[in-house]
């Protein structure tokens, strides 16, 4: 008598969770822009047996953006999920995995990310600032001013902009621009005059960092900048990779 086929996997089964974890790690590991994402929900799972101890798994995942930039050395488990009122961003991913003898590997993934609608955010928090386009004039001006301010007040390598991660603008009761951007160290020091000629250090030597800045435009003019430079990450036997303390400058 042939054995009955195994019951289909449920989305909350440990095996499904393990596949989703592998998928999320793969997605974050292969992304070079934006922020790390965490699993919010397994939408669907399909398993196609390929033979003994071999199966193909199709996953549909719902992810949420964290506050950790993709270049940040912070482990995903320590990253904070961006709150709903911070204008959350969702990621929808289709992932194809293979499981051979219990070993999972990702074969392909396809993701789209979308911010929550302005209406949804305003319904819960009418005064919350909303996401702005990264090429918005006020956003670009704030990032430029913030980076210039940081470089002028801090010794060490001159930092250049890598990418604007996100930006929000609030109009009431005050006009405020909030920006977050990734930076990279150059071969120049901040004291050097000709910063236009400064080149980004090669990837294997480069120091990456992440900055947040708040610029109050009305009623008063005020700028606050906060940058964290992660530092060159070279694991050594006495300082394991994840336990290294990275240089931090505020």
């Amino acid at each position: 008598v042939p054995a009955a086929p195994p019951a289909p996997l449920g989305c909350d089964d440990p095996e499904s969770e393990a596949a989703a974890e592998a998928a999320v790690n793969y997605i974050n590991g292969h992304s070079h822009h934006g922020y790390k994402f965490v699993l919010n929900r397994i939408e669907n799972i399909r398993v196609l047996p390929q033979g003994a101890n071999n199966e193909i798994i199709f996953l549909e995942l719902d992810l949420l953006e964290t506050t950790c930039h993709i270049l940040s050395p912070t482990p995903l488990a320590n990253c904070t999920v961006r709150s709903f009122t911070d204008h959350a961003v969702e990621g929808d991913c289709d992932v194809k995995l293979q499981k051979v003898n219990g070993q999972l590997s990702v074969l392909a993934s396809k993701c789209h990310s979308n911010p929550d609608s302005n209406e949804d955010v305003h319904q819960v928090c009418p005064d919350c600032p909303l996401l702005a386009l990264s090429n918005d004039t006020e956003v670009l001006a704030t990032v430029t001013e913030a980076l210039s301010d940081y470089n002028s007040k801090n010794a060490g390598a001159y930092l250049k902009l890598l990418e604007i991660g996100r930006a929000k603008i609030q109009y009431h009761p005050a006009h405020i621009v909030f920006v977050e951007f990734a930076v990279a160290a150059t071969n120049c020091s901040t004291e050097e005059a000709n910063v236009e000629a400064c080149q980004l250090l090669p990837d294997d030597q480069s120091n990456f960092g992440f900055c947040t800045a708040t610029k109050v435009i009305r009623p008063s003019q005020e700028l606050q900048v906060n940058c964290q430079v992660y530092g060159h990450q070279v694991p050594t036997p006495d300082t394991p990779f994840l336990s290294r303390v990275f240089q931090s400058t505020t």
Binding site: D12, S16, N40, R41, N44, L64, A88
Partner: protein, 38 residues
Amino acid sequence: SVARRAVAEVAQRDKVPRPVGFVPPPPPCPGNIHHFKI
């Protein structure tokens, strides 16, 4: 009509009574929301 009454009786007879306190299992998918739903 006679035909309709017969169908209704069969449907009623085949209905399996659920024990007291029966909680149907959750649908296998989608899974639980870990944080919040957008």
